[in-house]
Every structure is written in structure tokens, then in C-alpha cells.
């Protein structure tokens, strides 16, 4: 018998997944709302994780499957919370279920629709950070939960132009008759006792630092793009290929936007030092003769096993040079990274076939709308404000609403999971108190 009241978890990344599992395991009903077609979030995009080099999907996928199968969790993907009223113990939430144009009860995830789609290979895959193009009907990635197809309303010829040739290619191809262009948006009302906000983060647009030539040179990419390039399940099957060839000179630039009040990011993004060390390791692993340079201002390897990992990477012939690069430009078929090596005290040029920018972690672009929806406050950096920075780190100014993961501020996966478990614990206190006081 499932216990009540229920909890609402907003956001299906690793924070939301962990919080949902903990509350559900305690016996309470959980609604897990995710706006993308699949749960998984940022962690699903990553290749390996620092400092242990566990494959990210390998440790995440079982948890994704668990939330999909858990009897106490109602997974509401491709859905958004649009209204919240009431208060602790008795929130009324309205969830908008966006039309997938696919009957999830019929869809078997076979993928014949995507193979047949007229837009095949023409729609930018956001999951793959634009490195590959997909069809207008898609699953974001092969391990998606639920493994159900979704029609992208911004790309589907029928939905954008009202016509897709003489006949619907996807409908013709679907053996389960699952495609349904008659689907409409639905609103669902939920009664919940506590809410966990786990809406994650965005990454700064590196064009805000025009000196690095992102968007000008294809050899300049962001860290998250590198994750997709390096991922064994990614578009290149894990081969690091730039402009059709393997890069030999690879330069990493840290603090791109971070620690820089000019870009609105005065804070340290906390994850870049370690993922850059991991990226350097991955390049060394895949391209043994590569010349690898990491430009840094400070190396912040603060977590358990982190300094040791940094040591390991340095021993793998990765050259750390102190100095924040000033500019990237082209010379012949190479890029040139200009910097001062502050330890040498002189300006230097380092040639590169690939430049990876460790871009700042920033609040979701719609964070202020989510804050308004729930009555939350934002701290000056734009992330959601916790009730007390030390003693109430997952509570908010709204009773019964708790924070988990990067929506509260940049953090790595261990801290995110720890905070998610703390948020679940706080939510469970509320739920248990409500259960005690409600008439049997």
C-alpha cells in the first residue's frame, strides 16, 4: 500500500532521479516530472566520470531504469509543471503533458519511424550537442527511459508545414500503429505534500568570450561537446576526430566565463578543473602521441580522490601551463593559442588542432520563471537560494519545497547525489508528519 501524501520531483537528471528513488523506496508515491522525452539529464551526456573513470551511462542507466519501473514512481516525461498552489502538506500542482504524437503504450522503440523520416539526418541533436543530426521523430539517446519515440514539433514537416509528402513516412513504417498526430496537450492535476526542485544548469555560451573564436573555428569546442565526441556511445563511437582527422596538439582552456564578473559569472564553476583533467586523460588514452596542454589560473582539486587524479593526469605527460589564454587565431592549418605563461613570465603561442573550452556553469535560462512558479528566491548568482547556506542547505524560503543538484549552484556528481539524498530526507520528514496528522 503506497503511502501518502505524494511528493513531486521536478527535473529528471541524476539529482531528481536519486531523490525520487529515495522517497519511493520509503514507500511514498512520487511524481517525477521531466521536460525532455527521457530522464537522464546532463549525466547521460557524459563519457567517463572523474576521478574513478566510471562510465557515466553505465552507472546512471540502472537508476534510470529503476525510476521507470518503480511501483511508487509515476514518471512524467516530456511534461512541465505549469502551476503550483497551496502550501506544505497540500500543494496542488498542474502538469502539462506535451503531445509526443506517439502512443507510448503502443510504441516498442523499434526505430523504424526514425529510419523512414523525411527529415532523417537533418535535425540537430541537442543531446549530441549538434555533432550529429537526427530525424524529426527520435529518442534522444539509445538508453532513453522511457524508450519511446517523440515527434519534434519544431522539425517535423507535417507539424511545421502541414504536409509531409503524399503519405506519412513514419506512420507507414510503424508496425505498432503508434503514431498519432491527433494527440493534444493534456493538463494533469496533482496533490502533493512536498516538492523537490532539481532543474539543473545550463552552460554559458562561449561566444560571450569572442577572443576564443568559438563559432568561428570548428576546432574550438566546449567541454560538453568533447564529452559527446569522446563517448563510446556518441556520434563518433568515442573516436576523437576534428575536421576529419585525429588532433595531435590539444589545448584545454579553463575558466571560460567563470570567475569573471564581466560575463555575469563571478563564481568558480567547481567542476571544470576536474573534468578538464579527465578530458586530458581521455585524449592521452585515445591519442597516445598527442601533445596536451592545459591552461589554468588555479587548479582546484578539492574532492575525495581529486588531487590524486590530478597527479595521475600530470604523470600522463599532460603539461599544465599557468596563464589564462588571451586569444585564439588561425595560422595555416593550425590554431594558435596566445597566452602568457605566468611562471615563465613571458608571452607564448601554443599551436592546436583542437581547443576545448571549459565553459561556466550557469543557471537555467528559465530559472527565474521556475522561481516565480514556486515562490522561490534566487541568490545574486541567479541560482535558487537555499534557506541557510550552512544549516539549511536544501530547504528554501517556501516550506515543503527543497533543492537538489545544480539548480542551487554548481556541483559535481558526488555532491549532487549527496544533496539529492538530503532533499529526499527533508521531504520525507514533511511527508511523514503529514501522514501522522491526516485522519486515517
Amino acid at each position: 500500500m503506497v503511502r501518502e501524501p505524494a511528493a513531486l520531483v521536478i527535473g529528471g537528471g541524476i539529482a531528481g532521479i536519486q531523490a525520487a528513488l529515495d522517497i519511493a523506496d520509503a514507500g511514498y508515491q512520487v511524481y517525477l516530472v521531466e521536460r525532455e522525452p527521457s530522464v537522464g539529464g546532463r549525466m547521460a551526456q557524459l563519457d567517463k566520470t572523474f576521478p574513478t573513470l566510471d562510465c557515466s551511462s553505465c552507472i546512471l542507466t540502472p537508476k534510470m531504469v529503476d525510476v521507470g519501473n518503480h511501483p511508487n514512481i509515476e514518471l512524467m516525461t516530456y511534461s512541465e509543471v505549469v502551476a503550483v498552489e497551496g502550501g506544505v502538506g497540500a500543494f496542488h500542482a498542474t502538469v502539462k503533458k506535451k503531445p509526443r504524437y506517439v502512443d507510448v503504450d503502443k510504441c516498442t522503440g523499434c526505430g523504424l519511424c526514425a529510419a523512414a523520416c523525411r527529415m532523417k539526418g537533418r535535425v540537430v541533436s541537442r543531446f549530441d550537442e549538434g555533432i550529429v543530426k537526427r530525424s524529426a521523430i527520435y529518442v534522444p539517446f539509445p538508453q532513453a527511459v522511457p524508450l519511446k519515440y517523440t515527434v519534434d514539433p519544431t522539425a517535423c514537416l507535417y507539424l511545421t508545414r502541414g504536409v509531409c509528402g503524399k503519405t506519412f513516412k513514419c506512420k507507414d513504417a510503424c508496425p505498432a500503429d503508434a503514431i498519432d498526430f491527433e494527440q493534444r496537450e493534456e493538463l494533469v492535476d496533482l496533490e502533493v505534500g512536498a516538492i523537490i526542485v532539481a532543474t539543473g544548469f545550463d552552460l554559458i555560451d562561449p561566444r560571450t568570450k569572442p577572443e576564443f573564436g568559438y563559432g568561428v573555428y570548428p576546432e574550438v569546442m566546449t567541454g560538453i561537446e568533447f564529452e559527446r565526441l569522446s563517448s563510446a556511445s556518441g556520434p563518433t563511437m568515442g573516436k576523437i576526430i576534428v575536421n576529419g582527422k585525429e588532433p595531435k596538439d590539444v589545448v584545454f582552456i579553463k575558466c571560460v566565463g567563470s570567475r569573471d564578473p564581466h560575463t555575469g559569472v563571478p563564481y568558480c564553476s567547481r567542476i571544470c578543473c576536474m573534468y578538464t583533467a579527465k578530458h586530458a586523460h581521455l585524449v592521452r588514452d585515445k591519442i597516445p602521441d598527442a601533445r596536451i596542454t592545459v591552461f589554468y589560473m588555479d587548479v582546484r582539486a578539492f574532492g575525495k580522490g581529486y588531487e590524486e587524479f590530478y597527479d595521475r593526469v600530470k604523470h600522463e605527460r599532460v603539461i599544465y601551463r599557468r596563464g589564462e589564454p588571451a586569444e585564439v587565431y588561425r595560422r595555416g592549418d593550425k590554431l594558435v593559442v596566445l597566452a602568457e605563461d605566468t611562471l615563465l613570465g613571458k608571452p607564448i603561442e601554443v599551436e592546436a588542432d583542437l581547443v576545448v573550452l571549459a565553459t561556466a556553469v550557469v543557471p537555467r535560462t528559465d530559472a527565474s520563471e521556475v522561481a516565480a512558479l514556486l515562490g522561490l528566491e534566487c541568490s545574486p548568482d541567479g541560482f535558487f537560494q537555499e534557506a541557510h547556506p550552512k544549516l539549511r542547505p536544501v530547504s528554501t524560503s517556501v516550506d515543503g519545497v527543497f533543492l537538489a543538484g545544480c539548480c542551487q549552484g554548481p556541483k559535481d556528481i558526488p555532491d549532487t547525489v549527496a544533496q539529492a539524498k538530503a532533499a529526499a530526507s527533508s521531504a520525507l520528514v514533511v511527508l511523514a508528519q503529514c501522514e501522522e496528522t491526516s485522519p486515517a
Binding site: P261, H262, A326
Partner: protein
């Protein structure tokens, strides 16, 4: 001279420096001289004194402000150079040519030292209204455009364009004095303040709602340092682009040329005006605009700013202008278009020295506009 470092470090708020090296890494002259902004700031923070006489490289800085624009911590490194130059100016130990330029400005209102009475010689007979009679727009010509025979074509072309567009404009004539932008950057604060006061008063007395300049350098100081509240300060590229867009300025001739454009530091990097000059070039019939690899925020300084028109610096051989004209030639452009009198002179000189004059011609955007009108 042993300068006490602490008061200046405090005044310029150097304490926030995290020694990241972004200033020196991107400094165009640091690549060829011993100037090292980061190291200089560090010295100011940790050593009690600085021997300012021991740093001739202080005159290498072009005040392109790449360091100021990019510093993540708002330290404004180039302002340290300006302050240190100020100490040298006060002590009188400055390069002779800098002294002569400053003296010329003090006596005749311009760095060439040519008589104030000759300031309007550039008009060459064309009647131009005196702004003092009242006008909607004040055109501030600037020293180099007024006196340098190579640059005088630019204000003449601007007057033709303004007239063609039917603008009500006037000039200050022989009452116009140096704007002081370079004066401040050479460290002569007293003279700069005097110019701000005198020019400011004169400009306000005209009652024009807009002030347009030939030079990005004048534009910069009027816009950012004069406090001309209520007067809209424009560089000519902004105004011309506006006139074209409004259909008030049309072209009747084709200029069939491949053109590349060099962003002046005081217009681009420092004031973020990148699109208007390009919009003008694109609007000229026949012009094919091609970009150099380093453009917009990554444009390479021509080394004409910060007083460098009047002081050679410590490395004469490797001029940035030489490198820049080579970059322009690599694009296959026949014309290197500029929007700054200093860039026009430094780059044209470099084209000659580099033996590129058969292939590449340096022209102000207004010269191209004039051909097309």
C-alpha cells in the same frame, strides 16, 4: 625615480589582480618588447618602490585597452601605464617627441605644433558653417584630419556626405582644440583636464544635440570621459550607416573592389562598434567585403594609439602594422579599409615598407563612400 608603489596600487585598485596573465597574453606589444603588464602589477603589489626611469617600455603601450577589456577582475591594467607615464611627465623625464607633441597641443591646440589659424586649411575653399552660429549637429574634425595632408581628404568627404544628406551641421573652426584623448594616455593629466574643461564648455555652448567625430580617439574621450550629458556622441561610421539605412544617403557609382576592414581599437574593442563600418562597406555597390582572420574583438592593434604616433617604442623593427598589412594582403583584398586617422597613417606606411603597394591600398571608409556617392 623611486616611486612608492602602495598609494598607486590603492588608487588603481590593483589588489584584485589574480595574476592570470590574460593581460600580458593578449597584449600586442608584449610579444615584441619586454612590457609585461601582469608582472608590473605584481611588482606594484609586492615591492615597496618602482624605479620608473628603468622602464622605457612604458612608452610601448598603445592603450589599445585589450587588457582592460579582457581582464576578468576589472583591474584595468593599461590605467597603470597611464599613471606611471603621469609620474614621468611630472618629473619631466619624457621622450623629446612626446614633449613636443604635448607642447604643440598646449600652444596651438594640436600635436603637430602648426599654427591654430591653419586648422581649417583642410576645407580647401568649401564653405562649411561655423557651429557657433548654431546647428543640430556639431562635426568635430580632430587634429590629424585637420592638419595631415593625407588625412584631410576624410573630413572633406564627410562634409560632402553630410551635405548630400541634408544635415544641419557646423564645425568649430580655428576654435577647435585637441580632444585630449592621447594627452591623457601620455600621462599629461593636467593638460587633459584643461582641454576637457575648455572643449566641453565650447561644445556645450553650440547647443547641438549630436556630436560626430572623424577619429575614434576623439569619439572615445567625448563619449566616455567628457561627461557631455544630453549630447549624443557618434563616430562618423555610426552616422553614415544610419544615413544609408534611412535612405538619406544613396550611392550612384560602383566601386568594384575586394575590400577588407581593419577594426580600430578605440572604435571596436573599446566601444564595441563593429557592425556599422561593415554595413557601410556592404552598402557600397561593387564592394566585396572579405574578413581577415583576426577581426572584431580579435583585431590586431596598428600601434598608433596611446601617444605612439609621437614615440617610437623600444622595438622599431617588428611593427604590428607590418604584420597587419600582411594579414590584409593574405585575404586577397585590393583595399584595406580603415575608420581611424592613425590607422590610415600607420598602415599606409607599413604597406609601403612591406612593398605591398602594388597589391594593397589603404583607404579610409569615407574615401570609398566619396567614390561611390
Amino acid at each position: 625615480m623611486a616611486l612608492k608603489t602602495e598609494p598607486m596600487a590603492e588608487q588603481l585598485e590593483l589588489f584584485g589582480c589574480i595574476q592570470c596573465g590574460k593581460c600580458t597574453g593578449g597584449c600586442p606589444v608584449a610579444r615584441k618588447t619586454v612590457l609585461n603588464m601582469r608582472s608590473l602589477i605584481y611588482h606594484m603589489l609586492v615591492e615597496p618602490e618602482l624605479d620608473v626611469y628603468a622602464h622605457p617600455e612604458l612608452w610601448d603601450c598603445t592603450c589599445c585597452f585589450t587588457c582592460v577589456e579582457r581582464c576578468p577582475k576589472d583591474v584595468r591594467p593599461a590605467e597603470l601605464i597611464i599613471s606611471l607615464r603621469g609620474q614621468l611627465v611630472e618629473s619631466g623625464r619624457i621622450p623629446e617627441t612626446v614633449g613636443a607633441a604635448l607642447m604643440g597641443i598646449f600652444r596651438q591646440g594640436n600635436p603637430t605644433g602648426i599654427a591654430r589659424e591653419d586648422r581649417t586649411a583642410w576645407v580647401n575653399g568649401t564653405p562649411v558653417k561655423a557651429a557657433q552660429e548654431g546647428c543640430e549637429m556639431l562635426y568635430f574634425v580632430g587634429c590629424i584630419p585637420s592638419y595631415d595632408p593625407r588625412v584631410q581628404v576624410v573630413p572633406r568627404a564627410l562634409v560632402r556626405a553630410f551635405t548630400a544628406a541634408g544635415l544641419d551641421f557646423g564645425i568649430l573652426g580655428t576654435e577647435e582644440s585637441c580632444c585630449g584623448n592621447e594627452v591623457r594616455r601620455m600621462g599629461e593629466v593636467g593638460l587633459f583636464e584643461m582641454l576637457v574643461e575648455e572643449n566641453g564648455e565650447l561644445i556645450r555652448s553650440v547647443g547641438a544635440s549630436r556630436l560626430v567625430t572623424t577619429s575614434p580617439h576623439c569619439f572615445n574621450t567625448f563619449r566616455n570621459e567628457y561627461g557631455l550629458d544630453g549630447i549624443e556622441v557618434l563616430h562618423y561610421t555610426q552616422l553614415i550607416a544610419e544615413l544609408i539605412e534611412q535612405g538619406r544617403l544613396g550611392f550612384s557609382n560602383e566601386v568594384k573592389k575586394r575590400v577588407t576592414y581593419h577594426d580600430p581599437c578605440f572604435l571596436g574593442k573599446q566601444n564595441h562598434i563593429f557592425d556599422e563600418p561593415r554595413a557601410i562597406l556592404k552598402a557600397i555597390p561593387g564592394v566585396k567585403l572579405v574578413e581577415m582572420d583576426r577581426n572584431r574583438e580579435r583585431s590586431l592593434c596598428c600601434e598608433g594609439g596611446g601617444g605612439r604616433m609621437w614615440v617610437e617604442g623600444t622595438n622599431l623593427e617588428e611593427r604590428l602594422a607590418f604584420q597587419r598589412v600582411q594579414e590584409a594582403a593574405e585575404t586577397g583584398a585590393e583595399i584595406l579599409a580603415v575608420a581611424c586617422p592613425f590607422c590610415l597613417l600607420t598602415l599606409e606606411d607599413a604597406v609601403k615598407v612591406q612593398g605591398l603597394d602594388e597589391r594593397l591600398q589603404v583607404m579610409d571608409i569615407m574615401e570609398l563612400v566619396d567614390l561611390a556617392l
